[in-house]
Each structure stands twice: as C-alpha cells, then as structure tokens.
C-alpha cells in the first residue's frame, strides 16, 4: 500500500503476480479510502486476512498527514498479524513504474511528486532504475542544476505529479503520475528496489516556531486606541 500522494493504492501479490489491486485518487480522504480498499482487494482475490505473509508500504516522501495513514495501517496490520512490514521509498515505486512501461527510453530520469509550497520531492535515477540522488525537497527550477549532465541529453525527463505541476522545469514529462501498489509489490518480489524499516521520509521538520518574548499588552492596547 502507498498513501504518500493523492493516490490511495493497495495491491495483493501472491508471489507470482499481482492478483488484485485498487487505486483511488483523492487528496483529502486517505483515512476513509484505505481500509475499505484493503478489504476490497482481499475480497477480489478471494483471500483471507490470515493469508497475508508480509506487508509493504510506501514511506514517502509525501505530505505528512496522508503518508501517516498508510504507515499507521501497515505497522498495525503487521503487528496484529505478526508478519514483517517493509518500507520502500515511494519515488522508487514510481521509478519502477517508469521502467516497467519503458517511457524513459533508457535514459536517466527524475521522479518528482508534489511537496506543496511550490516545491517538489524529487529523486534522480540511472536508466537501470538505480537511485543516485535524493529523495530531497526543493523547487522544480533548481533540479536541472543539481543532476549530473546526461551524455547526449539536453535536458531531463521526469515522471510523477510533481513533473506535471512544473513542466517547464523538465524536457519531457513521462508517466506514471503516482506510485502504484501493484508496482510496489512487483518491485519488492523481484528485488528491484531497496527496502527497509517502515519509517516515514518526512524530509521537512515540523513547521513550528518557538514562542517569541511576550509583547507588551499595555503598549498594544494604547496603540489600538
């Protein structure tokens, strides 16, 4: 499962192939959509919850609230079913999708997702899908200066919704737009992506300021008069 982007995506893989999947795009309803999707894929595959032997979850980067919905569900599911939970960088899932459909035409590429505040989360991949830079967060316009110059390639091609948002920053926008749980499962089964503990990739610190020294109430009252 992955909830690090507006897509709530769940898939079931039986070791040979993806046997059921569900993807719904809705930025604001991750908590509502994820659990029914889990039940739906189990039902569609004719599987029981006790048949699950392992859980894989996209760990972002992504907007925090949605990202946590998937991580909280995956960790709890793993704990309750007493099965392992593996985390995969969500951008690696998109990169796997890029290679699966071959739209990168054997060139290096960037995966970019929306980080809001006019920034993107992005990572840079070799043609074989190896992540060599990122994930990091920044302005789309700054990506070109950060990635190695690709031989014989004037500019960068990029996949993901972040590329669609800032098409001017990239030479070509390619698919897919969001990570798919089917790709996540297939990538893990075929050892095509690194995995680790299901820890969120926030990349940003909580947006808070420590309190400033107290203001004079008397002064502010006086100026208000």
């Amino acid at each position: 499962m992955d909830t690090s982007t507006p897509a709530v995506t769940v898939a079931l893989h039986d070791g040979d192939q993806v046997i059921a999947q569900s993807t719904t795009v809705d930025t604001r309803r991750h908590t509502e959509l994820l659990a029914p999707a889990l039940v739906d894929v189990l039902g569609a595959a004719g599987a029981d919850r006790r048949d699950i032997t392992e859980v894989a979850v996209g760990v972002g980067p992504g907007p925090f609230t949605g990202l946590r919905v998937g991580l909280a569900a995956a960790r709890t599911l793993g704990a309750a079913l007493r099965i392992p939970v593996r985390g995969v960088c969500s951008q690696d899932i998109i990169a796997y999708g890029v290679r699966a459909i071959g739209v990168h035409e054997n060139m290096p590429f960037v995966v970019a997702t929306d980080a809001r505040r006019r920034e993107i989360y992005w990572a840079y991949y070799e043609p074989d899908g190896r992540r060599v830079l990122g994930p990091q967060v920044g302005a789309a316009a700054d990506v070109a200066a950060s990635v190695p110059a690709a031989p014989g390639l004037g500019a960068i091609r990029a996949a993901g919704a972040g590329a669609l948002l800032y098409p001017d920053a990239f030479a070509a926008v390619i698919g897919p737009e969001y990570p798919s749980a089917a790709d996540l499962a297939s990538a893990l089964i075929s050892d095509a992506v690194p995995s680790g503990a299901p820890e969120p990739l926030y990349l940003r610190r909580p947006d808070v300021a420590e309190p400033s020294p107290r203001k004079s109430v008397l002064t502010s009252l006086r100026t208000a008069h």
Binding site: E32, A35, F64, T65, R68, V69, A72, R75
Partner: protein
C-alpha cells in the same frame, strides 16, 4: 454470568497516545505514551509534532496495553477509537491504526466521541453512573459542560469556552509570570504560597447580560489580559511581581467560574451527579472548590483518578463497552475523522 466483551480503545486526539482494555466497567489496562515533553519548548501542543509522535508510539503502546492486561489480540471482541473532536492529523493516526486492527482481527470497530469518553472513564473508577449527569471537562484542549442522559447515545453540550481552553489559559498565564509549560502544575505549586484574595481578577461571562446569552459558556481571554496588565503595571511601577499571589488569584478566578457554572447547570437541570474530568481537573483548587460547592448543593461529585482524567485509551474503551452493551451498530471502515465532532454524536 457470561464474561462481558473485551473492548480495546485507542485515543490519539491530542498529544497522548493511549491504548486501553476494558470489560464492562472494569479497567484491565491503560497504556499511555505522551509527547508532552516534545512540546515544552514551543509552549503548547504542536499538531505536527504530536502526529509524528502518535505514529511512533501507537504499536508499542498497543503492545504494552496487551501485556499489562495479560491478554492477546485474539481475546479482543471489539475496537473503539476516538473519531473526534481533536487535532485532525493526530486523529487520523489512531483511526487508521484502529481500522487496520479491525481488519486484522476481523472484529467490529466503533468510532466514538472523545468528550463523552471522558465521562465514560469515571465508570472505570466508581462503577456505573446514575444518569443523567452533568460533566465538567477541563483540559488544555477543551472546557465544556455536558449533560449526559444516556452514556451510549444521549449527550448534549450545555456550554463551552468561546476562546481559550482553561488549560491554555494556565499555559499562557504561566508564561506571563515566568513559570514553565505546562502551566497547570506550575501555577498550582506557586499558588500554594500565595494569597488568592490579594488580587481580584475578572470572571468571564458572568455579567447579567452574558448570563442570559452565554449561561454555561466560558471565556478566558479577558482574564489572561487582566493578568498581563496587572503584571506589566507592577513592573512599570518598579514593584516586583508577587508570582505566588498572581498565580493564586488567577487560579481562583478560573476555579470560581468553572465550578459556579457547572453547579448552576446541575441545579437548573435537576441533575444530582456531576463528573469532573480532563487534565486540568487534577488542579487541587478546582477539585476542592468543586467538591465544596457540590456538597453545598447536594450534588454527588464523581471524579476518576488522574490517569483516567487526562486523555487515555481506557476511556475510549469504556465508552466502546457502553456502546456495545447498548447494541448500537459498528461504524464500519469508511468513516472519516471529525475534528469538530459534536457531542450529540456519541458514535460515528
């Protein structure tokens, strides 16, 4: 008699991650992980900091509750989770975990109201409540007077704060007079050395006009400003600020208005039992004054121990148990969190 169902409760509406286990009105476990220390330097709860802490704490707290109760997840008959009110991002962690648990165990899930949960917690302390009750809830997140006519399905909001929660007022005034966060315990300690009658601070929404429009409501912003003005005037005149006296007088103003309105609600609605809950209810002056005034008015005062007063999972399990006993339908897996869930909605 057959054993009552085992209910697991999950609470993540503010800065405490709570998992509790309850049978009927019997408390079996109440595991809580608090992120309060992480908020100290910000002088208040930071939603994103709280949400991150919930994600890290939820599974370990679940494990601890099961160990404490000496049960396994297979023994659990139903799950209850706080659906609201509370911080949206924080609520979502608990609800997402609870839904996953419901799927993993194949057991029904109930999304319940946090405020009514505070009232249900009292049943774990002193047994079933004789309804109706009036509840005075005071914490860093809320200041409300509720009437609960039937714990599982009939509660109404009589009054609430129009601005700061009582706990926030304690935090802000503590900062004004150089005391630490959280303000409640620090102000109480300072006030023990002070004279509450040496300064008079205003009681919000108690004028005749306010009593007709906001009979059971509270407001603490005027009180906070009054304290700030008093402190500044003293400083400008070169007097040292008598911190214990200011703390005691402020605390008295809060305790006075809270208890006065709660007792009034009992009298006017002919309710004989009051429940005092929420983290600020741990304040000894608020507790003493409530006890005193309830005794005068012939009202039975009920208050759970501190660990059941502050936000916790056992209170959600206790409410879940009442809801299950009433045979209400489960909430399913599609419900959303509601950061302003009305108190009339006990189950979502």
């Amino acid at each position: 008699m057959a054993e009552q169902p085992l209910i697991l409760g999950i609470e993540t509406s503010c800065d405490e991650t709570g998992v509790g286990l309850v049978r009927g009105t019997t408390l079996l476990a109440n595991a809580v992980a608090s992120s309060v220390d992480e908020h100290v330097r910000f002088g208040g709860v930071v939603p994103e900091v709280a949400s991150r802490a919930h994600l890290e704490a939820i599974v370990p707290t679940l494990d601890r509750a099961l160990t404490d109760a000496q049960v396994t997840l297979d023994d659990v008959d139903a799950i209850a989770v706080t659906a609201g009110p509370g911080l949206a991002g924080a609520l979502m962690v608990g609800v997402s975990a609870a839904k996953a648990l419901s799927i993993a165990l194949g057991k029904p899930l109930y999304g319940v109201n946090h405020l009514v949960g505070h009232v249900a917690a009292e049943q774990l302390e002193n047994g079933p409540l004789t309804e109706p009750v009036v509840a005075l809830l005071v914490s860093g997140g809320h200041t409300e007077i509720l009437q609960v006519t039937e714990i599982a399905n009939a509660a109404e909001l009589l009054g609430q704060t129009l601005d700061d929660a009582a706990g926030e007022a304690f935090d802000k005034v503590a900062r004004l007079i150089g005391l630490k966060y959280p303000g409640g315990p620090h102000i109480q300690r300072a006030a023990e050395e002070g004279d509450a009658s040496s300064i008079w601070f205003p009681r919000g929404l108690t004028s005749q006009r306010d009593m007709s429009r906001h009979r059971y409501d509270f407001s603490f912003s005027g009180l906070k400003t009054a304290v700030a003005r008093w402190v500044e005037t003293a400083e400008r005149e070169g007097r040292s600020v008598p911190v214990p006296d200011v703390a005691a007088a402020f605390q008295e103003a809060v305790a006075d208005v809270l208890t006065r309105k709660a007792v009034l609600a009992c009298r006017e609605r002919d309710v004989r039992t009051m429940v005092l809950a929420g983290g600020v209810a741990a304040n000894s002056r608020i507790r003493d004054l409530t006890r005193e005034r309830c005794a005068e008015a012939g009202i039975e005062l009920r208050q759970p121990r501190l660990s059941l007063c502050t936000d916790n999972g056992a209170m959600i399990a206790a409410l879940g148990a009442a809801v299950v006993e009433h045979g209400l339908p489960p909430s399913g897996l599609e419900f959303a969190t509601d950061s302003s869930l009305p108190v009339t909605q006990v189950v979502i």
